[in-house]
Symmetry: C2
């Protein structure tokens, strides 16, 4: 059975392109609150699970020992755009551990954001690992290794203590076994583990509610999600969906995207979390889907509902600014 079309892209009076997807909304107990498509399908969370991967940074006492505040914790959970402020915080995290960019094993790339890339092209010869969208997460790994007395070298490896610890944390949160057979290598070279979409949502619901978690983990989870909601610019960047979604309902919505059309979110006050994947891996569609699913939980607050739906359904303009079509969610999501 096919997953349903959740997002349409129109031109003139016709639908030009269609995006299918799966959506799981789960509460802290693991109960499916809403399900669209095959929510038992295994999905690589990619960068959407960075907040889970940042738990050892807090639980180990590293964040406190190094004096990290909301910005550093948000950046550890981030896929940032490589804006100067992001680079500065990542460099500061490494400096706190007596390290520098040479400790990062994530590789380097130019910003994915066109306006940031243009600025980079005009000011630097080439990007470094600090410009990698994952540099905050990797700085957190290096810091955690240093603080816990582990050699950080090789920290991206499956068998390195940093990744072994993360694997245990994510098994606990998602209730899924993580091992070589569901493991792939992420863009930044660390392991990424495919888990059923509903389990991924349950993991974030546990983080948002603390339900079923040991107090240390529940506290660290709350601290990380609150840091992201307090400093949404450091989770993504200017004009980015994660940042905008969290700015739309300050302190009430956590949202994090991942490559290949994944999006996760949590609404702590509602006790739920969302995980979704656009079947074809397209970001524009995942962004529309998450905004619409989030909006569904705020029907009683018309302004907030409308602000979220304006991120789900939006006009497409051409190079002359002419309105040529729309991205819009389908009935299945409305």
């Amino acid at each position: 059975m096919s997953n349903p079309v959740l997002v349409e892209v129109t031109r003139g009076r016709l639908v030009e392109s269609r995006h299918r997807g799966i959506v799981a909304v789960v509460d802290g107990s693991g109960k499916l609150v809403r399900a669209i498509g095959d929510v038992d399908a295994a999905v690589f969370p990619r960068s959407a699970c960075k907040a889970m991967q940042a738990l050892p940074l807090v639980e180990s006492g590293t964040a406190d020992a190094f004096g990290f505040g909301d910005r550093e914790l948000a950046l550890a959970c981030a896929s940032h755009s490589g804006e100067p402020e992001h680079i500065a915080v990542a460099a500061g995290m490494l400096a706190a551990a007596g390290k520098d960019v040479s400790s990062l094993e994530c590789g380097s790339h130019w910003s994915f954001d066109q306006s940031v890339l243009i600025g980079q092209a005009r000011t630097i010869d080439r990007p470094t690992a600090l410009h990698n969208n994952c540099s905050g997460k990797h700085a957190g790994f290096v810091c955690t290794a240093c603080h816990t007395g582990t050699d950080p070298r090789g920290y991206v490896g499956y068998d390195h203590p940093v990744q072994a610890e993360i694997r245990g944390v994510m098994e606990n949160l998602t209730g899924s076994l993580l091992a070589h057979d569901n493991c792939g290598t992420d863009g930044c070279s660390i392991p990424s583990y495919a888990v059923p979409l509903r389990n991924l949502a349950h993991g974030f619901a546990r983080m948002a509610t603390g339900e079923g978690l040991a107090p240390l983990r529940a506290n660290a989870s709350r601290r990380l999600l609150e840091a992201c909601m307090a400093e949404p610019f450091y989770v993504a960047g200017s004009h980015r969906a994660c940042t905008r979604l969290m700015q739309t309902a300050p302190g009430r919505i956590f949202a994090k995207t991942g490559a290949e059309g994944v999006f996760c979110a949590a609404i702590p006050e509602k006790g739920i979390a969302i995980a979704l994947k656009c079947e074809d891996g397209t970001t524009r569609a995942a962004e529309a889907m998450i905004a619409a699913v989030l909006a569904g939980f705020f029907a009683a607050e018309p302004d907030l509902h409308q602000a979220l739906m304006a991120q789900a359904n939006r006009p497409l303009r051409n190079w002359n600014g002419i309105h040529v079509g729309d991205i819009r969610v389908t009935e299945a999501l409305a």
Copy 2:
């Protein structure tokens, strides 16, 4: 009924994302040689039909009057990357008509190609309409208007003689009625008309074979396709799929992409043309699909078949150059 999955993106041992699509292969008589999915679905050809839109430039005698050779004709059919050579030829076309960049109505944008964009950012303040990927096509429109004694101003409009002429040409080629109800506005502001995919393929088969076309149109069609095959860099640019496909079999394959996952191609010696669309509008998938469909026609030439399949199935590497997965076509296309 859903269109089948034609391209998979893998990570580790798992499929991470899936792309569905429709494919029509048609001969000069209109006979369906191969069909996958709903080939009667209406599809906006977008830039894939630029060679059709360039016919008036040749048929009107404009190209000859202005001394245009293969490079100018290829650029009139192009979605170029905005490399310096592309800009120079577009500017030369306008100069031949006594015009300049101020005559272009396509709007402006930075190059879609990262390495070209970096070069642009370091050498210009902002892009002009000459940098627009459609500037060659638009220069052709301006030249055609000037040569035929029509005021070029407003040439992007539905009712301007240039667009009316193109509409008639495309109705003749595709055998489809084109009017307001199947018309959308393209990225560069000219009309784009949605036609059944099989009709789009038939239009290119007519261009490739001359079958059913008046001699003037048959000759102009052959001249345009031959110009693109002779100067494939001017149809797209460095490292681009259209350019690479045509370079793989010089003078034997014509190929042209369009936005939202469209790809058209023709193999004149086989008397067929191909039109396809990735349902979700993704370029990476459309590129894999067209390479695989083309390869199917060269099974008797193992080197060429393999060179095309290497463009259909390719490894994905991360920022550290590690092989993390693949883009590959499914059984439905193999």
